[in-house]
């Protein structure tokens, strides 16, 4: 647990407070929550830009920066999901507020924010696009898993609206999956210029392939058994578990040494 009593920390904590208030206010005061959501986004942008100015390169290098970026993605993806989903806006704000608090927590309290220089390996124009595509995809998939979980809980209590839950999950995966594919594709192009090979069988690569394959399986299962929504929901959640492993376990554990370990 690291508390950051500096500008960077205050910006993160106020964003988190903002997202938390959005979560609490969304049902009763949706209009105010909406305004607060936008302002929290602006504060998170400030946190990101501040970090950028401190380290002097795109802040996506280590765990701290990655989670900071995830927190920044929340609102843009919220606006996009509002367009594609039929879910009640207040509920969507609650979900996004909650995800925002969760993804900013590691940036605020777990990972240290000592500025690091960009190592030679990461100095390439695909560094930003490759990581950003994944981060955006991860937020979509996280939200999809929240809907899947909701669907599972509702159906276990024999409550209605289970259909829309599974549907929303699918809509979000359908939006996130191309981004996941793009991340894989860009990474492979980069690999060619950095290592001389499109694919290196590195643990991080294989875990990200596993994530991709789980969603591929999800899409095919959904095609094969359109009405087995419980199975869809379970696969959806497994997908998120794999993403968490890819993002955290692979980089933090000593079990998986490899070329993708830039974090300290």
């Amino acid at each position: 647990m690291i508390i950051k009593p500096d500008i960077q920390g205050y910006l993160i904590y106020s964003t988190m407070l903002g997202y938390l208030t959005v979560l609490l206010m969304a049902l009763k005061y949706p209009k105010q929550a909406k305004v607060l959501f936008v302002s929290s986004f602006l504060v998170s942008s400030a946190a990101l830009i501040y970090r950028w100015s401190v380290v002097g390169h795109l802040p996506m290098q280590n765990m701290f920066e990655v989670f900071l970026f995830l927190g920044f993605c929340i609102w843009p993806i919220h606006i996009f999901s509002k367009k594609i989903l039929r879910t009640n806006h207040s509920v969507l704000m609650m979900i996004d507020g909650a995800i925002g608090v969760v993804v900013l927590f590691p940036a605020g309290f777990i990972f240290n924010h000592h500025p690091q220089f960009l190592p030679p390996a990461l100095q390439y124009w695909l560094f930003g696009p490759h990581v950003a595509a994944y981060m955006l995809a991860y937020i979509f998939m996280t939200k999809a898993a929240v809907f899947a979980l909701g669907g599972l809980i509702l159906s276990s209590r024999n409550m209605p609206s289970n259909n829309t839950m599974a549907d929303s999950g699918y809509q979000l995966i359908a939006a996130g999956f191309p981004l996941l594919t793009l991340g894989l594709f860009l990474g492979s192009i980069w690999g060619k210029y950095a290592w001389g090979d499109w694919w290196g069988w590195d643990p991080k690569e294989l875990w990200s392939l596993v994530c991709w394959l789980v969603y591929v399986l999800y899409l095919h299962v959904r095609f094969a058994w359109p009405r087995r929504q419980q199975i869809h929901n379970v696969l959806n959640i497994i997908g998120l578990v794999c993403i968490i492993i890819t993002l955290l376990w692979v980089n933090l554990s000593k079990l998986f040494p490899g070329l993708h370990n830039y974090t300290s």
Binding site: P120, A121, A194, L206, L213, F256
Partner: protein, 345 residues
């Protein structure tokens, strides 16, 4: 059960198996995972996967009609097909088929000023020859930080100064002053009238050094040198010593390369990490960098790897030769460790 249904189940099964293989591969580490995924039994798996993908195109009209679906399935087909043809086994097959001696990957180790056309293959312990020579003109490292000089005193006090020429710096506790007089990129000595005089040489080697003047309180100015290549010397009769603190945070590893064919210079480029040189169907990557142990001021250079042009499908023929290359991460890690040790020590 209709064929469609059968293929459907087959896809689900294959995907599930693929997921299990990948998780398993992630625990193996890159090298073993690569061997596993390139093994003969796995070739069967790839073959079945390819077959199902192709069959899918015939069975499901939506794969042909809906652009997004067609793109992603076509892409998978291309990646998988290219991967099989471009694998070590696929490559050996083509070599036999066309009776040629092309190779996929290897490593060259060059010293500064040296040229070679020999590529040592890592996989098969053989030496391959390029139809041209590669010459390493100069190899160098760029750093984020600057070198510094650390002064040590007999009573375990030490003091660090930045490597700026000119300014006279006070040593704490009123011990005196220290000043950097000259910075040398390539320190050499010459004899003039029986006296040894230091000078900066233009040669390709390098020997970074600084000339300092230290004036202890109540004493006369004394001259001393610090060298990046040579560790600190204990100076008899002196209560102080000085050490060159080399920069630690690597910004980039670079190499000036020349491609020489039939005695003529055909291409010249500076390569760095993430920026290979491409010539004659090969990519040359900056791989590692190290200093020599042989001579004091000799720079050693390790590894450039020839590689494949951007062939999207991964197909390799005589004109499309490919290569593996490693980043300098390993080295970077080492440097970082050293830094941590330094900080800790």
């Amino acid at each position: 059960m209709s064929i469609k249904r059968y293929i459907n189940l087959m896809i689900l099964l294959l995907l599930a198996v693929f997921i299990i293989f990948s998780v398993n591969g992630a625990f193996m580490g890159a090298r073993r995972a690569q061997a596993f995924f390139n093994s003969i039994p796995m070739m069967t798996f790839w073959g079945v996967l390819l077959f199902v993908l192709i069959a899918g195109f015939f069975m499901y009209a939506s794969l042909r009609k809906r652009f997004g679906l067609m793109l992603i399935h076509g892409g998978c087909l291309l990646v998988l097909g290219g991967g099989v043809l471009g694998s070590e086994a696929g490559f050996r097959f083509f070599n036999q088929l066309f009776d040629q001696q092309s190779f996929t990957k290897g490593q060259m180790t060059l010293h500064q000023g040296q040229s070679s056309n020999r590529v040592v293959s890592e996989m098969e312990d053989s030496i391959n020859e390029l139809p041209f020579a590669v010459r390493l003109e100069k190899a160098f490292v760029e750093y984020y930080d600057e070198p510094a000089i650390r002064l040590h005193f007999g009573d375990a006090m030490h003091f660090m100064i930045p490597s700026q020429v000119g300014e006279k710096i006070e040593i704490p506790d009123g011990r005196g002053t220290v000043q950097i007089i000259t910075a040398y990129k390539n320190f050499k000595m010459k004899q003039v009238d029986g006296q040894r005089i230091p000078y900066d040489s233009d040669g390709p080697e390098s020997n970074p050094a600084y000339q300092l003047t230290i004036t202890l309180a109540g004493g006369k100015p004394e001259t001393l040198f610090v060298f990046e290549r040579f560790p600190m010397h204990a100076m008899p009769g002196k209560i102080y010593s000085a050490e060159y603190v080399a920069p630690q945070i690597v910004k980039d590893y670079k190499s000036d390369l020349q491609v020489v064919k039939d005695g003529e210079l055909v291409k010249q480029a500076t390569i760095e990490v993430n920026k290979p040189l491409f010539y004659g169907g090969f990519h040359f990557y900056q791989h590692t960098f190290s200093y020599d142990q042989l001579g004091a001021d000799q720079r050693h250079y390790g590894g450039i790897r020839p590689g494949c042009p951007a062939c999207i499908s991964g197909l390799r023929s005589d004109f499309h030769r490919s290569a593996e290359a490693l980043l300098s991460e390993a080295f970077y890690e080492k440097v970082r460790h050293q830094r941590h040790e330094r900080v800790a020590g």
